[in-house]
Symmetry: C2
Subunit: 336 residues, 2 copies
């Protein structure tokens, strides 16, 4: 079973995306990475990397090029971008690259999409209205954002933030039984579909300190999270909690579930990045395509200096291939 | 320089407090622990531990007893408490034990106080009106709770939650410039006084995802945290941030500060317990006395089964001794 080449959008060309794509390609044999290609600004890639780059015009050409050069599908190429200095133009390039890479995965020409780091602030400046790339990809796939879920995956931990890039003051309003149930379903289905876990164990964290301590430190656990868990259980999903978030991530606790679902962004992201900073992958669940992303930002402050670590991008390409292969095998088995 | 014996309140006698006190005493030589004594229910301690226990009537007797038995100053002793089954009576015993232990430290008869785990829910049932033991101890020491700070300390990380045991929905109202400044001052002074760090480096986390991403995901960073940092810097304190909380706790980041201050409880507690679950210590800064606590709860579900891990209590007693000795030496030097 061979999947089509994986599309990797370069993200903001002023960030570290071009550099970590090239470094990942250099490491392709050490990590037995599948064929992939960049989607983005050719000049930015060549500024970040002095080795071989070959321009392609469609994904299938990546396989012919891959052994000898970084294959690149160029987008908005110009020589005006300076590493570390994002502009409206570089944000536009990031958005167009994302759009093309997702479209290629949707069409099947690319086996999966890996999205490079973008600046949300710069995207908002040019009119981008989604909370993040995850919601954008969901929309382009025709999936309601509530039915998609952002999963962070590292070697010893998977987490899903139930709310993502919204102010903390808005979380109590946004956190509804319906939302928790939808994220729970997306997580359970996604663990089966992408990782082959037949009956995934979901652990839910509380929103408040000590999971509200029986209602004395907030009521969202009692009013929202517990009823949602009950509903998921009635659907046959192995859901438990709500648990105090601070005691959910030590080694013994992590062995008790396949994925922890957390009300806030930081509750889910802090433990993942504390444990697996250089190898954390963002995987979007609930989509018809496989989409992963390195779990870090544009790092403008070190862009163009050759210091960026490609570990998370290598892990993101590897996980995208794993999930895409797993889906292809399952679908072939189902069709047989 | 020898400090007086350390008072260790047993916490709720139905929890694991009695067991981990006895286990800590058994480990006294392996960890070169200073002389300490329990404060709490004699029956509960004897049910939890079949080895030697000796009742004392004042702290100085602990030194005579310590080599051969667990010294215990009894409080509310009765035989009605069952391990794992907290009651109003066991909560009352926990509160009285805490009160006595703190009083002994205040008087100087005890060199420091280590407070065992209590059930906040049960304490609230009997009329306890403080958010937690930290605020209670601050009040008993005549210190406004805003001027005290709860620090979590592990081998590679120290954190201070700026807000503690309050619902997340209340955090945006409670998080003021004044509060952030007070916690910053308490942290800076506490690091110097208790740990001997002359110019402590404080790193502040943002409240919102990605520290608000330049105001696009919440404004508390711009309106509250940044101005507070500015004020602390104008006072000569080495304060930096606000930083995205999720990227503040990996190994390289931890080396860049002496203490991370976080707007919410979970932002501060999650990384500490993820990294140092069995050795995390809660230290109250800003008090005239040294007060530490093992950083875990009553664990009623395993109480009475001999399974509780004494690591955090051992670490709490060790850190209390370290800080008390450090203060005694500094004060002697200042007086000379």
């Amino acid at each position: 079973m061979t999947i089509n080449p994986i599309a990797v959008s370069l993200g903001d060309p002023a960030g570290i995306g071009p550099e970590i794509l090239a470094k990942s390609w250099r490491e392709r044999d050490n990590h037995t990475l599948p064929v992939f290609f960049g989607v983005g600004d050719e000049h930015a890639l060549k500024k970040a990397y002095s080795g071989p780059v070959e321009v392609i015009s469609e994904p299938r050409e990546a396989g012919e090029v891959f052994d000898n050069a970084v294959p690149l599908l160029p987008v908005n190429t110009n020589d005006r971008t300076t590493a570390g200095q994002p502009t409206a133009e570089s944000a536009r390039c990031a958005l167009d690259s994302l759009e093309l890479a997702v479209g290629l995965a949707r069409s099947g020409a690319a086996g999966a999409v890996v999205t490079g780091p973008v600046s949300k602030a710069k995207l908002y400046d040019i009119g981008f209205s989604h909370p993040g790339q995850t919601e954008f990809v969901a929309e382009r796939c025709g999936v309601a954002r509530e039915n998609a879920a952002m999963m962070l995956a590292g070697p010893t931990l998977r987490t899903v933030p139930i709310t993502t890039h919204i102010p903390v003051r808005d979380v109590p309003q946004v956190l509804t039984i319906e939302l928790v149930v939808r994220k729970g379903r997306a997580a359970a289905r996604g663990l089966t579909r992408n990782f082959g876990i037949r009956r995934p164990r979901l652990a839910f964290a509380g929103l408040n300190p000590h999971a509200g301590e029986y209602g004395t430190i907030g009521r969202e656990e009692i009013d929202v999270i517990a009823p949602a868990i009950e509903m998921l259980r009635s659907e046959g999903i192995d859901a438990s909690g709500p648990f105090a978030a601070d005691t959910l991530f030590h080694e013994a606790a992590r062995r008790s579930y396949d994925c922890a679902l957390c009300p806030t962004h930081d509750q889910a992201l802090i433990p993942l990045k504390t444990l697996h900073f250089d190898e954390g992958v963002n995987l979007t669940l609930g989509l018809p395509i496989v989409r992963t992303s390195p779990d870090h930002g544009t790092a403008f402050q070190i862009a163009g200096q050759g210091k960026a670590h490609p570990g998370a991008t290598i892990a993101a390409i590897g996980l995208a291939a794993f999930c895409a292969n797993h889906r292809a095998v399952s679908e072939a088995a189902a069709a047989a």
